[in-house]
């Protein structure tokens, strides 16, 4: 007994072929969307590869691009098959290609399922890469004269402004690194000498943050320096001050951005799988008897 068999007359077969043909073209458009989402995701990863230590994994966007192109090709061919099934002569030409096409489609669906899993699992990799990358970015912030790192300051400042965040986990990460280059420190000054000597590694540490941590929504002009010293500023209490600088850490902010992209792509892929399965069951019913016989 065949699996899930249905009875068809001529009218029903024509209607099925037409409906399938439209769905195949919808699937081609979905394939194009997957392709462009892959390119978008790749560009987004590339834009911020500097804060991910240049070793972020491009597996998911590359697979998306590949599967998008495959989907376009497969579904266009499927649409052509449907179109020609209305003409018995043309259909007899196509008949031998049907079985391999169905097998290829099954394989394609399996790949799509794998990609959905990857979309959700690779978020862990992004999380870890970001943590490491941001830590290094904050360390190299001052190295604007070192080749290969001279744009780190600009990248990190733009990231903090765009994502409204400060530091790795919070703004206190800036207190632990020297983010002013030695070129701009007057080493003959007593204050500077004291600070440099006050810690083991000889770093110029201070309780200040870069300007990009400032929150424009604060009612008062931004307080960047002497953040933990209440007496340095009039009417200021660093324990209750909330609007002065961004409270969120960039790790969380950037990760939630990428996580939302990957979740949306995963959801779209699940819808694509459902559409593809529907199409292939439809096509499977088609070739039992072509129209006109």
């Amino acid at each position: 007994m065949p699996f899930m068999s249905l009875k068809f007359n001529l009218q029903k077969r024509v209607k099925l072929a037409q409906g399938l043909w439209m769905l195949y073209w919808l699937a081609v458009i979905v394939g194009i969307i997957i392709f462009s989402l892959g390119i978008f995701f790749k560009i987004e990863l590339r834009k911020r590869s500097e804060i991910m230590d240049n070793n972020e994994s491009h597996l998911v966007p590359n697979l998306l691009i590949l599967l998008g192109m495959l989907s376009c090709g497969l579904n266009a061919f499927g649409g052509k098959l449907c179109h020609e099934s209305l003409d018995p002569q043309k259909f007899s030409k196509m008949k031998p290609m049907l079985k391999p096409y169905m097998l290829l489609s099954c394989g394609f669906n399996a790949l799509l399922l794998l990609l959905v899993l990857l979309c959700f699992l690779m978020q862990f990799a992004v999380y870890l890469t970001l943590a490491e990358g941001l830590k290094n970015a904050i360390r190299f912030y001052k190295d604007t004269d070192t080749p290969g790192r001279c744009f780190m300051k600009r990248t990190l400042d733009m990231t903090q402004i765009e994502f409204r965040c400060c530091g790795n986990n919070n703004f206190r990460d800036w207190f632990e690194v020297q983010w002013i280059s030695n070129r701009y420190l007057d080493m003959s000054n007593d204050v500077v000498k004291d600070r440099v000597l006050s810690n083991v590694e000889g770093k110029y540490l201070m309780d200040s943050v870069p300007f990009s941590c400032c929150n424009p929504g604060s009612p008062r002009p931004c307080i960047q320096h002497h953040l933990t010293n209440n007496s340095a500023h009039y009417d200021y209490d660093h324990r209750i001050e909330e609007l002065n600088i961004w409270n969120r850490g960039c790790h969380q902010a950037v990760f939630s951005y990428y996580s939302s992209i990957m979740n949306s792509i995963g959801a779209l892929l699940i819808c694509t799988i459902i559409l593809e399965v529907r199409l292939h069951t439809g096509l499977h019913h088609r070739p039992l008897q072509p129209v006109g016989m």
């Binding site: 001279c150 002013i180 070129r183 420190l185 007057d186 400032c214 009612p219 002009p221 009039y234 009417d235």
Partner: protein, 350 residues
């Protein structure tokens, strides 16, 4: 003698109708494009209306939206007429409306040219609105506790960061106003009292700029305060320092942004105008070719299509004569009403 006569047989007529129908759908898309550009421009003006004193002119985006809507409707109707022109019964329904529709199309095309011109000209009032608005924006920067102005600081900070600019013309504009609110100034401190006493208006002026003026590309951490005091910072010369804060003025930046949008929209409307003219001409040919059939019963007979029924001069004199007749007609009616009181022999002429 008709203007620009073209001979048509059935095949040519069908091809003409199909081409014009196709072009009408492009024109509908163009209308949708103009509509969305108008909406985009309106939203952009609204977003920054705070910096323009809330009295920027929305005339141009409103006009674009209206033109886009009219274009869509008109071109959809024209397309339907072309589609129906292949069926004489359906076409007979539309025939009486065609002449006024074509005149309306001509008027619309003229309006389109005016809109394109306005896109380039309206830059000038925008310049003045921006200058005034930004000056006030900076004045109200510190008033974060005054209702109606409490978001000015945020708006201005975000704008300076987004457009990479500082101050109205130059970053020194910030030196001339007090941008720190009195709430955050310690009036018992000597330094504050000195500064306030040092100028006539009693304002706390300083040679500093807000953080949003800082340029992230600068190799050194941003120097916002005591900018003109070289000795306050190590290895700093404010005459040669270029990357520290943004050097461009915000009026210049905003004007070039909005000017760019308006130029693009103006150029687009200019390129869409020939399309609109072409479909109008096409519809005129469709209409004229169907009304001059050699044998009205036989749709396969030959016909002639023309742009104008008579030469340009004759058409013009015809229009003037019609307008005069209309004017005379109303005058005669008034005379006729007066004649009712008097004996009816005067009457009105036929």
């Amino acid at each position: 003698m008709a203007l620009m006569v073209v001979k048509f047989d059935l095949k040519k007529r069908v091809k003409l109708a199909q081409t014009v129908w196709f072009m009408y759908w492009f024109a509908v898309l163009a209308g949708i494009l103009v509509l969305s550009l108008g909406l985009f421009f309106k939203i952009e003006l609204r977003k920054r209306s705070e910096l323009m004193d809330n009295n920027e002119s929305h005339f141009l985006p409103n006009l674009l939206i209206a033109m886009g809507l009219i274009a869509c409707g008109m071109n959809a109707f024209g397309g339907k007429v072309c589609y129906d022109s292949l069926d004489p019964i359906k076409f007979a329904k539309w025939k009486p409306m065609l002449k006024p529709f074509l005149v309306f199309c001509l008027g619309f095309n003229a309006l389109l040219v005016v809109t394109a011109l306005l896109c380039f000209v309206m830059r000038i009032p925008l310049q003045f609105t921006l200058a005034e608005g930004l000056k006030n924006g900076m004045k109200y920067y510190k008033d974060t506790d005054t209702p109606g102005r409490c978001y000015m600081k945020r708006t201005l900070d975000l704008m300076q960061m987004e457009f990479r600019c500082c101050g109205n013309d130059h970053y020194r504009d910030w030196f001339e106003i007090q941008w720190v609110s009195n709430r955050y100034l310690d009036f018992s401190a000597k330094e504050v009292k000195d500064r306030i006493g040092s100028n006539v208006d009693g304002q706390y002026l300083m040679d500093g700029v807000p953080f949003s003026c800082c340029n992230p590309s600068s190799p050194r951490p941003c120097i916002q305060h005591q900018m003109t005091n070289n000795s306050a910072h190590y290895s700093y010369d404010h005459y040669t320092e270029e990357l520290n804060v943004w050097r461009r003025g915000c009026r210049d930046a905003l004007l070039s942004y909005y000017g760019g949008i308006m130029n693009t929209i103006g150029a687009l409307v200019c390129t869409l105008n020939p399309l609109q003219v072409a479909v109008t001409i096409g519809l005129q040919y469709v209409d004229s070719s169907l009304s001059t059939l050699a044998n009205p019963e036989d749709i396969e007979s030959e016909s002639e299509g023309f742009l104008l029924e008579k030469t340009v001069k004759e058409t013009f004199t015809d229009i003037m004569a019609k307008m005069k007749a209309m004017g005379k007609g109303t005058k005669v009616e008034e005379g006729g009403e007066e004649g009712v009181a008097t004996p009816q022999e005067g009457g009105f002429s036929s």
